[in-house]
Symmetry: C2
Subunit: 175 residues, 2 copies
DNA sequence: CTCGACATGTAAGCAGTTACATGATTGT
DNA sequence: ACAATCATGTAACTGCTTACATGTCGAG
């Protein structure tokens, strides 16, 4: 793959769990070449454009495999700015709170639609039992992304119901 | 609150969605004081120990409230290293894959237990309708963290079932 | 008296983004 | 011809972690 290809891949399903900008990718690729973990070769794209392609070296493959089996000492924080804002709910004007939740609901619903489209595009009605190993990794990542968004939306809806009830009880923002 | 207090708070529920080390917190607090968004005062803790306390200024409160209503242009990536590893499933020896998933299941189950304990400690059987606004933000964040972990565990179990079936079919890692 | 928690800081360095900068290719 | 996408890079800066460093307080 090329740096550009990697940049594009981060716009697909895996981008839900890890991503980087092209400016970082090009720098890292050079670093990996200098460490002999990957090697570079040129592929002509058109007449003049030299597309720089990279492939993993045996040394890189070894490094990758040991990384894949590594257990992180601590589970790292999956940051979520929206949750951080909700933590400070008491400082949000009560009439804005519902709007904020509905806005997030809309954005998350759009993301879910995109992911489901990706899913039916790549897997359709296929049974994961019959997928080859390469596809299986992508299948798991996509189902993970979809279930994450679905769960997020369920939580948003439950929270919206609570907020609505509190407004109906006229007690919202007054306690 | 003091820098130490903030560090401690990041070990509680909100730490599931945002966190920082004390080394960063102390630097940021000084920056915020110089921007006049917070102000500092001393509280004696014991005889000699001067605990540096901070409170938000009116200017800071204004800034906070405008930040709380800010909509991020793009939803940022909620990074998850485990999902990244799963993406490269084809490079993991098939006998290790199950172990990897079970390990993550164990860790996530422990996290879920911790969160549920926090929940019953702070909210018990309370109805969120009757919570005061300050508590409500914490309630939402904790329920969000809990539902996120529950959903993660469901996905792990589903994936484990698929992997087990593939092993039983003797087709795992061979396609 | 000693250990664990409380409490605060600095420095080096890595990870990652934003902005700047350039040029080729393809489809309309 | 023009625009969108393909394609690659650098520089400045911010965010964040790791490691270093020091000292107090309370309980047993």
């Amino acid at each position: 793959m090329s740096g550009y290809d990697i940049t594009s891949e981060f716009k697909q399903a895996i981008g839900q769990f890890w991503s980087a900008k092209h400016s970082q990718i090009y720098v890292e690729l050079k670093k990996l070449v200098s460490e002999e973990l990957i090697s570079q070769y040129i592929q002509m794209a058109g007449v003049k454009l030299e597309k720089k392609m990279y492939r993993i070296t045996p040394k890189g493959k070894k490094e990758l495999q040991s990384w894949l089996l590594k257990i992180d000492e601590q589970l790292e924080t999956e940051k979520d700015v929206f949750a951080l804002r909700v933590y400070f709910l008491k400082d949000i004007p009560s009439e804005e709170v519902l709007w904020l939740f509905f806005n997030q609901l809309k954005r998350k619903s759009e993301k879910l639609s995109f992911l489901k489209e990706q899913f039916s595009l790549h897997f359709g009605e296929k049974d994961p039992i019959n997928l080859d190993v390469e596809e299986l990794g992508h299948y798991f990542v996509l189902t993970k992304a979809i279930s994450r968004e679905e769960n997020y939306i369920i939580w948003l809806n439950k929270s919206i119901e609570i907020i609505k009830k509190r407004i109906a009880d006229k007690s919202f923002g007054e306690n």
